[in-house]
């Protein structure tokens, strides 16, 4: 049976991993901070996937970002998605070359679908994740682009357009709940057109185990994501996963503790 997924998201801001609340960024720590506080090579055995987004405002240093992807993906045997500010197929190619299995596209989808078609033809549609940021305004959800700074279209309209693109997954994020830690905005799912064709990753608002559980119970949710660097610090993700598994949630099983025994086993 196809399993649901728990995804950890790292927000990268010019060399520093950041905490985002309603899309306002707060710098938290660099790669060393992350390795110390998350014991990254250990915690990666308790998540299903990793998403790394370059959310740097202003000019992006893509070489530096690529180096960070390389460093994070060592000893991390899960799919990696990367993105942030992608505008050309060659930027996407660079990310694939540095270890990304999928790329995440947001604002570009509103400007041109050509690049998406090109990437999809070259790497397959399963490697394209479309990210959509939504905000509740006067009782209705609107989609926003450019790091949540520009109102785009009503959410339903945008998701209907997106459903026709050659993509592999949708990353649906709530600007209102982002970083708040009070739970996911499940109402967002009501803006999905009927029989939306690709798997849905719900993001924005997870603060504790129960929030994962609430969202994973919804049939429309294929994966839950959290970018909250504070609420799952230490072994929070490990504990949440174990609790989900012991409560019968449909997540993948593997023996995380074999990993240490596997290291250099062939030498």
């Amino acid at each position: 049976m196809l399993k649901k997924r728990v995804i950890f998201v790292l927000l990268y801001d010019n060399g520093i991993f950041s905490y985002s609340r309603n899309f306002c960024l707060q710098k938290v720590g660099d790669l060393n901070w992350l390795k110390q506080n998350y014991n990254f090579s250990h915690i990666s055995f308790f998540i299903d996937e990793l998403i790394i987004l370059d959310v740097s405002r202003g000019e992006r240093d893509s070489d530096k970002f690529n180096d960070h992807i390389g460093a994070l993906t060592e000893e991390c045997f899960i799919p990696i998605a990367a993105g942030g500010g992608i505008e050309t197929a060659s930027q996407a190619r660079d990310l694939f070359k540095h270890g990304a299995d999928k790329i995440v596209i947001n604002s570009l989808a509103s400007a041109s679908t050509e690049v998406i078609n090109e990437i999809s033809m070259e790497f397959g549609r399963q490697s394209v994740v479309i990210s959509v940021d939504a905000k509740l305004e006067e009782g209705k959800f609107n989609s926003w682009i450019n790091s949540g700074s520009t109102r785009h279209t009503p959410l339903l309209e945008w998701l209907t357009d997106i459903s026709k693109l050659p993509i592999g997954e949708l990353y649906l994020n709530s600007i209102d709940n982002d970083g708040v830690g009070n739970g996911y905005h499940l109402d967002l799912l009501d803006s999905l057109p009927e029989s939306f064709p690709v798997p849905i990753i719900l993001a924005g608002g997870a603060g504790k185990y129960e929030h994962f559980a609430d969202a994973l119970q919804d049939d429309r949710v294929n994966a839950v994501a959290t970018a909250n660097l504070f609420n799952f610090i230490g072994n929070g993700l490990e504990k949440s996963r174990n609790k989900l598994l012991s409560n019968g949630f449909n997540l993948a099983h593997w023996d995380s503790y074999i990993a240490l025994k596997m290291k250099n086993i062939l030498i």
Partner: protein
């Protein structure tokens, strides 16, 4: 024991970083190769790859790699593991973006999941899914008979009359998740992205006689 040396075939189809880091984690040495002569001489080969069948096969042909692989595996008896698109290319032919002949190591063909068999299920088939092994063999040693592996694909091979060590996964229909025919191994899933289950399987492949 001397160091195990693995050659990963680079033909420009997708991410090879995770395959390399998984093999290095296990303690083997990896080289990335695309020269046909080196392919013929390599004792252990891996063809990774994501993307379209047609494009993948053409990429092998353009570099003269397809014949080198056949020579290495069939004539020299070197062992090979095909991952995802790499496994699909080992079949007789694919139908993605037009018919294209494969390496034909096994007679199974690659076609898309049909609407009927999907019955509303989403495509691509992405995420961890349960794989059932047909019997205890070296390739699946140390893993429970039902184990979870990471998939991401829209096309699949059916079991057809493949008479060998194999594993099945169900997504609307039972399809071929992995197989071993002598020195030829294939996995539709990504062992390099399947946590410890994948590391165990890669180790089994590398250690197999």
């Amino acid at each position: 024991m001397s160091t195990i040396k693995v050659s990963v075939i680079d033909y420009g189809m997708g991410n090879v970083c995770s395959v390399i880091s998984a093999i290095e984690y296990l303690g083997a040495k990896v080289e990335l190769i695309s020269d046909p002569e080196e392919i013929v001489k390599s004792n252990i080969l891996i063809i990774p790859g994501v993307g379209s069948y047609n494009k993948g096969m053409r990429a092998l042909k353009d570099r003269g790699i397809d014949e080198a692989i056949v020579d290495s595996v069939i004539n020299k008896g070197n062992k090979i593991l095909g991952i995802c698109l790499g496994m699909q290319l080992m079949g007789s032919h694919g139908t993605e973006n037009g018919d294209m002949k494969g390496l034909n190591f096994i007679s199974n063909k690659v076609t898309n999941f049909s609407t009927e068999e999907l019955d509303g299920k989403k495509i691509p088939h992405v995420g961890f899914n349960t794989v059932s092994f047909n019997e205890g063999t070296d390739f699946f040693e140390g893993l429970p008979q039902e184990s979870d592996f990471y998939f991401t694909h829209s096309h699949r091979m059916l079991l057809d009359d493949l008479n060998s060590t194999h594993a099945i996964c169900k997504y609307g229909v039972d399809f071929l998740a992995a197989f071993q025919v002598g020195n030829i191994f294939g996995t539709q899933f990504h062992p390099e992205k399947s946590q410890t289950n994948g590391l165990v399987l890669l180790k089994n492949f590398l250690k197999s006689e």
